[in-house]
Assembly symmetry: C2
Homo-oligomer: 443 residues x 2
């Protein structure tokens, strides 16, 4: 696992945001040297990236691998129809096998499009299948079983509180910190509406005691906010704060509708926001006020959400959209290519408490790296200036520009090989097709 | 050029919008038979599209091939800086060679991502280079030299009226109707602001006399509208109507800011709107009220605009965005996948006066066809239902799903071949790189 990447244009994301032509040495799982003229050691494996760009792997802070199998099956629907008629029945019908196939398809798409780290919300059952897929395929992943214990939750997903919490603890002991620390557990109450106050309070203690993330949906749409208000007498984020959950270990997906008071709360408590532009548009939720969040000092990272509300898991698309949708309101110089690139890397690392480990190409950090070739019909162009390089990545690239992906120094994707995470793409597609067919027959 | 496409899922766009598994026979430039069980003729060439989707080629009603070379060089800028500091100087610096390279790169991207017909606005000079590239590579194209004759136009582009009109006529006689009718001329005054009233009046007569399209930008942003109002005393579209230009031969790119009176005018005169969602967001112009237009009976088709304001020329992206950006305002069931697919095909054909020739897979129409494979990590999923097939195309596909493109029965792209429009992709990329370098040195 030791090798030298040579002649790349390195977009380092280091504190001075240097971009330079040079080499990166990887030993085991870490970056051990970076330089404009590194000499290869005797017998060191050399990989020539001449003409290519090397970036830190993307970090997606909100995905649902369990939903990858539902892609193209739940479109142009009202949110409640989307959940009740499609997502919940399909999640409820998952078997361990179908969930494994769904996770593998999602991870394969993620790794092959440059995402090396995810924060994933599972469904209520079979969470081991997601961890197993992530373990085998090599993605860095925070995963949690979805928690839904209120009586009014859909019956195919609802669990008694004690049972939910017990399985949560079992999963933590089986998976948290495994695979050289690459796999971690993240508590995943679905949203306030689906959880009892008792469960949320237990998660607060658990998160504090074991230093675990809490990952939930919040303030995605106005209907949800009204329900939370009527259930708790409080606004959504105020309620989470009241329970002691709002802190730097809390990652909130969406936050489309957050008023000024709640924005102050997010900033003060260092709660993290995961912005999902495709999903927010597609489900008609709205456009999150991201430039305002960032001015207020709130950490905002990016996620593709699940395949049925996107319909890809592609960080290039989310970067481009995170930039473009703000411009009509805030002007064309808002949310520059560099800014969304940093949200897709550094801010993601920050949100997951991994800023010291990933998000940039620096000595001592994990070797989570992605090589990109711009030399394609749809992306060719630009100059050697930093501004142009960021534009190329954020506005012109698609997954087909990715040539190599490494996580912890392991080559988990190489475009030419037809394999991803050690498995042939064909096998992953076949398994997904078979399991999807079975799932659709069940519901 | 005779062949039989077999075993495809045909998304026909015919009057009943049938989707079925079957075959399509192409003889010379036309579709001559379609059926669920067509038998191959003796010695007929057969192409097996088992597992693939066959769609009519996409029609983009607003592109600038002359700008493809400027990709990734003009991002996150105010519109006026974008035009004055980047686009105009670069257009002004074009040589015949650089324009040819720019057009080839753009056409290669278009054909390889399923676009078979374009309405292109050139720059003021060297328009033959664009026609030549289109002629050779086989795309169906309406092309026109850009007309800018007002004294306050940028000096590197401004032309005397008589000279502009003379060249316009010369180009018409050289190119209009050539290549089996595949190449056509479209008059292209840049926008009201850049044209004298005399020039616009002459174009009105010319368009009427020779049945030619007029292709211009209109009501892209509020500043432009103010200038038109102060120049002419009229609103933009009212002014075009006052000159007799607003009719079914007029295609207006953008129309982001069009009030109710002007919407009625668009509907009444059958003026066509080309909606460019990526460009409108990126240049912070706004979001065109497309659902309102369509309810009012206005024809709306799609275009990627130029590479510097997008940064791709990819119809999948424009379909997806045309749908997604309307949903937060008009709800999640607005602008369905099927609706944007039809805008990308049938409505484009309609806008260009070619509804009898292209836009659907029907006997007697031109063989402008695209084969798509969904079997990729980012798009796999869905069912055999029509709704799911449209979703797959509009929301999940990227250019890498396209396996074959035919125009007038000619195979102009095959993913496996490494060639597009008869030229190797590598050659096109090399030429573009060389010409871009020379262009950047000049300015």
């Amino acid at each position: 696992m030791n090798f030298l990447l040579e002649n790349a244009t390195i977009v380092s994301n280091n504190p001075t945001r240097e971009i330079f032509r040079g080499s990166v040495r990887v030993e085991k799982d870490r970056i051990t040297a970076i330089g404009k003229k590194l000499k290869a050691k005797p017998r060191e494996k050399r990989i020539n990236l001449d003409g290519q760009i090397l970036i830190p792997g993307f970090v997606q802070t909100h995905v649902h691998l369990c939903q990858t199998l539902f892609r193209n099956l739940a479109d142009d629907l009202q949110l409640l129809d989307w959940l009740k008629e499609r997502i919940w029945p399909m999640e409820g019908a998952h078997t361990e096998k179908s969930l494994y196939a769904s996770a593998r398809l999602g991870i394969a798409e993620l790794l092959s499009s440059g995402t090396t780290t995810i924060l994933d919300m599972g469904t209520v059952r079979h969470t081991d299948a997601i961890f197993t897929a992530a373990d085998e395929m090599g993605i860095r992943a925070f995963i949690g079983k979805c928690l839904m214990d209120r009586n009014d939750c859909p019956k195919e997903l609802r669990e008694p509180t004690a049972q939910a919490l017990k399985e949560n603890l079992d999963l933590i002991s089986r998976w948290h910190g495994k695979a050289n620390g690459r796999l971690r557990y993240a508590n995943a109450p679905r949203f306030v509406i689906s959880c009892t106050e008792g469960l949320l309070k237990d998660l607060r203690s658990l998160s504090e005691e074991k230093n675990l993330l809490v990952h939930t949906h919040a303030s995605e749409n106005r209907e949800e906010i009204k329900i939370v208000q009527s259930m708790t007498g409080k606004k959504n984020i105020a309620y989470l704060d009241h329970l002691g959950l709002a802190n730097e270990r809390l990652v909130l997906a969406h936050c489309v509708w957050v008023d000024e008071d709640e924005q102050s709360l997010l900033a003060k408590t260092k709660t993290k926001v995961s912005h999902c532009p495709s999903s927010n548009l597609k489900l008609a939720s709205g456009i999150a006020p991201v430039p305002t969040f960032r001015k207020a000092g709130i950490s905002v990272s990016l996620g593709a959400d699940g395949a049925p509300c996107n319909n890809n898991l592609n960080m290039f698309q989310e970067m481009r959209l995170a930039s473009l949708i703000q411009k009509p309101v805030h002007g064309p110089t808002t949310m520059t290519a560099q800014e969304v690139f940093e949200m897709a890397t550094l801010e993601g690392a920050e949100a997951l408490g991994l800023a010291h480990e990933i998000g940039s190409i620096e000595i001592g950090k994990r070797a989570d790296l992605v090589a990109i070739s711009l030399d394609k019909l749809h992306s060719a162009g630009g100059s050697d200036e930093a501004k142009s390089i960021y534009s190329s990545i954020a506005y012109a690239c698609t997954p087909s520009n990715v040539t190599h992906t490494w996580v912890d120094g392991r080559l988990v994707y190489q475009a030419k090989s037809g394999k991803v995470g050690g498995v042939s793409s064909e096998q992953i597609l076949q398994d997904a097709k078979r399991e999807r067919r079975k799932l659709l027959q069940k519901i």
